[in-house]
Amino acid sequence: MKLFTFKRGGVHPPENKSLSEHKPVKSPELPNRIAINLNQHLGKPARPLVKKKQEIFVGERIGEADGFISAHVHSSVAGIVTKVEPAMTAVGILADTVFIDVDKEKTAEELAAFYQQTPADFTQMTTQELVEKIKDCGIVGMGGATFPANVKLSPPPDKKIDTILINGAECEPYLTADHQLMLEQPDALLNGLMIIQQILGVQNTWIGIETNKPDAIQLLQQKTDTGRFPGIQIAPLKTKYPQGGEKQLIAAVTGREVPSGKLPFEVGCLVQNTGTAVAVYEAVCLNKPLIDRIVTITGFVNSPGNYRLPVGATFRQVIDDCAGGFRDESRVKTVINGGPMMGKNVRNLDVAVMKGTSGILVLSDTEFHYEDEGPCIRCGRCVDGCPMGLMPTKLAIGAEYNRPEDLDTVMDCIECGTCSYVCPTRRQLVHWIRLGKPIFRNASGS
């Protein structure tokens, strides 16, 4: 088997995937009340469309896309709006949030209706119709960056896309949501890809999967071998972090390097997450907006696993109801929205699951240690590990001492966390680099 991988840098953090690996996706009981944030995507937050005391149904649009890079937000439940006000979100910023009291029976009925209908035949639809449907359903990239999918699927006319890459690498430690999705919904995934191929007029799709998921590789290989999904191939990837980084995935599979500061379509590529492909299928064929997603709840909880959660369920509620609560509440150190390498830890548990929440990871005092940073001993491990070919220690020192001239490459950092991970003196390299970005922007006057 030919293994694909990116060449430069990378690390092998302990995977810890066995906690939730191969646990079938469960749908938990609906919560009594949910809070749907209106900044579920990259770009401008959506405008609220509902008012207090308004009765709403499942999939009703409650937030209107505001501007070109923005996405609609839909209700994941049926019920009554209790209030619309700013609240803290799982990504650490405030955003308008719609609070809804859930009508459980009605919600269950309406949710089931989506799956009871016969799937529409997408081959009969025009590109325009397809993109419009994806936009109407508020589909965003579900790998974490949450870029609106319809925008990504409408590349500028002068850029010809010849390769579609599907990111099933799931290189973040602990997370198994995409893995389980590939195992349980391979047909939806491949049909979603056919839709994406149809939109872009491309017949060359690679699904990149790390070799720590051999069953997913095998299953999808079997499916594509039947010939029902022309143009789709499987690319087994070496297990190495950050194999699922957009630029790293493109380099691994196609050998092309996305130029610095440019987007993947510059090299004729388009990258989507497996979750996004499934969401595209459900949007187009079932008319189902993006109102739920598979989330791995793992770490220091009683029953780690993969769960289909409605967007808007609060962390506290899903940890208690789905994952059986914390194993020992007094030892919980941090709760992360996403994976441990690039996720954002939340400051309280009242924040809600978002479209980009791929995992909820609870770390106890045995896994999470914070140590004060020491001086750089110039071991060069961050330089060797950086998948973007940067000098993290130089950038960090440039940011620390406010020297824009040392920060010339800072904007290329993808904040994957490799440098901070390997640093033997626990330097906060990613954090410093994040600080360096505005310093560089201000100094270069852009």
Partner: protein, 281 residues
């Protein structure tokens, strides 16, 4: 003997030639500069704070001597110094009322925090990584970026909040530019009444996270007989021109958000332990 003679003669010659070259060079390549620039620079405080909007004291001296720019004002220099400079240059320098920086927040331990922030202990770092633990989205985080930036040592972090010693503050605005939440504001030194809050949130919202925040109740506006309260939505502010320091608003404010800094209250003397803690952040 011979050796000594040879060495002294040769070294002497070299020294002579080198001296000559230097002499010629200093005359030939001398840059003519107004000596007043040096004199004015000497008179300035020399903190290079950039409060005048120019790149340091030398630039200020050059600008004022060469361009006779009377609109320039050194915020760090006291009135007498500026008058002396004006006199020397034969200029009329207007100058304004003395301005000092004030922190529009007194949250600190009165304001609720969620979670423990571990990482680079600066306000900018907490903001850039969305790691602010202060629930109030407008208040002072208290990691002391302004304290470290202040060239005049006029800011202390006391009980997790920036406190400005208005007697030391010269109004250079460095802290105003540094604060990532823009809650430091320049106000006239002589107006000692001000609203120590930056939150335009509605009352119930503010009450959730801070016991001393402005809840937008308008009681101060009603109490003021001199139209000295400017009411932005849900946040009061004092109009310095109208304020008579009758302190009616201070008395009426239910959240004790409006402060009067009397003369004795201005000198801030942090306890020794506070100082050590805040310096080493």
């Amino acid at each position: 003997m011979n050796i000594i003679l040879v060495t002294s003669i040769s070294l002497g010659t070299i020294a002579l030639i080198a001296g000559l070259v230097l002499f010629v060079a200093s005359k030939k390549f001398a840059v003519l500069e107004n000596p007043l620039i040096d004199e004015v620079e000497e008179m300035l405080p020399g903190a290079n704070c950039g409060g005048c909007g120019l790149a340091g004291c030398r630039a200020f001296a050059e600008a004022i001597v060469n361009n006779k720019d009377t609109s320039l004002n050194c915020p760090a220099a006291d009135k007498d110094t500026m008058n002396d400079i004006a006199e020397k240059l034969g200029l009329q320098i207007s100058g304004g009322a003395r301005m000092v920086a004030r922190v529009n927040c007194q949250g600190g331990h009165n304001s609720i925090r969620e979670g423990d922030y571990l990482g680079i202990k600066t306000c900018a770092a907490a903001v850039v990584s969305n790691n602010v633990t202060l629930v109030c989205p407008h208040g002072c985080m208290g990691y002391g970026d302004c304290q470290r930036a202040c060239p005049f040592d006029a800011i202390r972090i006391i009980n997790d909040i920036a406190v400005i010693d208005e007697n030391k503050c010269v109004g250079c605005r460095v802290c105003v530019k540094t604060c990532p939440r823009s809650l430091i504001e320049m106000t006239p030194y002589d107006t000692r009444v001000y609203v120590a809050c930056n939150s335009p949130d509605k009352g119930p919202q503010v009450k959730k996270y801070c016991s001393v925040g402005c809840i937008g109740c308008k009681l101060c506006d009603k109490a003021c007989e001199f139209d000295a309260i400017a009411y932005k939505p849900f946040l009061a502010a004092v109009k310095p021109d109208n304020c008579t320091e009758c302190l009616e608003c201070v008395r009426k404010c239910p959240a004790k958000t409006i402060l009067f800094r009397g003369d004795d209250a201005m000198a801030v003397k942090p306890a020794a332990s506070d100082r050590a803690e805040t310096v080493n952040v």
